[in-house]
Amino acid sequence: MILPKFEYKKARTIEEALEIYSQYNGEAFYLAGGTDLVPLLKHRLFNPKVVIDIKGIEELKTITKKGGNLLVGPNATLYELKGTPEIQEKLPCLFQSLDATSCETLQMRGTIGGNIMQNTRCLQYNKSLEWRTARGFCYKMGGKTCNVVLNAKACYSNYCGDNAPSLMTVDAKARIVGPTGEKTIKVEKLFSGDGKEPFTVKPGEILKGIIIPLKETKGAYEKLTVRGSIDYPLVGVAVTIKDGSAKVGVTGIGPCPRVYELKEVNEKEINNIADKAYEDAKPVLNAVLTPAYRKKMVGVLIKRVFKRIEKGGSR
């Protein structure tokens, strides 16, 4: 499959990247690992005038320990992050979600920033231009309908990132830098909840870092897939237990990951959260398994993850 025509620019600093972005009036994409971006471009879902390679920016690559936090540059690869001793020892939920992401080869190229900021997916959206033209454009492609749900008022595409929900359960924050300055927000605030424009990040802004608190936690990640590897989660459940309370993150259904809090970890609370997450999950026929099965598996996976943590948490 051939890529559409665009120019290639390499940025050495964040300022330079922002500068190139504004030179091209925002008709630009930042390129890090490319494992998510290149297929989108090949499918002609976006046609930028320029692709700005930000892999050469040193400050975006580093993983450092500072105070009680791990400061992760978004261009750190998933494989590098998985090998970080602090994550292996203290954050089992994040370690497992990193390990469960796609496959080793793609983990070595794909970055944590790109994994968090990946676009939402839909069986009717991630297709070639010819296929989509024949079917008719949906909301997400700038059309006036949804091709999955009849008379839908919004886009039902799924957010399929494995690691955002586990980062939410460990209270991670994201640093965003853009033309108007810098800000630090919780990872959950990155998501708009709208399938058409899934992120609150404004055009041109760059994810500059991820701040992960390093506290002793217990946790696990479980994902529903058809294959053993190279698969997006059809449902993903991340659980982190810290100081007697727990957080549950659910991904793979709807345009943003959801997070739930348990004040105490006991069977009644777990069942309550599993029921609530089941009720909130509104899958539609836009992934390879049926909506009813995926919905049911939300509750099942939440209970299963807690059981696994009780037994030691390993996969």
Partner: protein, 156 residues
């Protein structure tokens, strides 16, 4: 559109090229350098048949722009043999019959080479995990895993 100048080291040979800014590494290897060992199958990063080594690490060459790898060294399946002798991985794949249609084979071998580069004695579980980066639609993977095991023993 302006072309981009790149210098890459392919199979220990320094090559200077003028490439399109939107050209993938797979296109450069196959169409400019006639190294057709890396195969194009899904072209979307799902299958792994285009796997090559970038500075010793396996990557999907269909997802990489050639301008991105300026200055890097690339190893393809053609660059594995030394002094006219096949690499132990290639030998083992033949001996164990880990090939049926053969389309995934070069990608499988490059992924296995990447694994052996970072882990001289991988366990069976580690081999399976690494090989699961690639898709084979004929063999059922058993003989491929056996071949990688065999090669790692030979190389030890």
């Amino acid at each position: 559109m302006k072309t981009v100048k790149v210098t890459i080291n392919v199979n220990n040979e320094k090559i200077k090229l003028q490439v399109k800014p939107y050209e993938t590494l797979l296109e450069t290897l196959r169409e400019r350098l006639a190294l057709t060992g890396a195969k194009e199958a899904c072209s979307l990063g799902s299958c792994g048949s285009c796997t090559v080594l970038l500075n010793g690490t396996p990557v999907r060459s269909c997802l990489i722009l050639t301008p991105e790898v300026d200055g890097a060294s690339i190893t393809t399946i053609e660059g594995l043999k030394e002094d006219g002798k096949l690499h132990p991985l290639q030998e083992a794949f033949m001996e164990k019959g880990a090939v049926q249609c053969g389309f995934c084979t070069s990608g499988m071998i490059m992924t296995a080479k990447g694994l052996l580069n970072r882990n001289k004695k991988p366990s069976r579980a580690e081999i399976i995990k690494s090989i699961s980066s690639n898709i084979c639609r004929c063999t059922g993977y058993k003989k491929i895993v056996e071949a990688v095991e065999e090669a790692s023993k030979k190389m030890a």
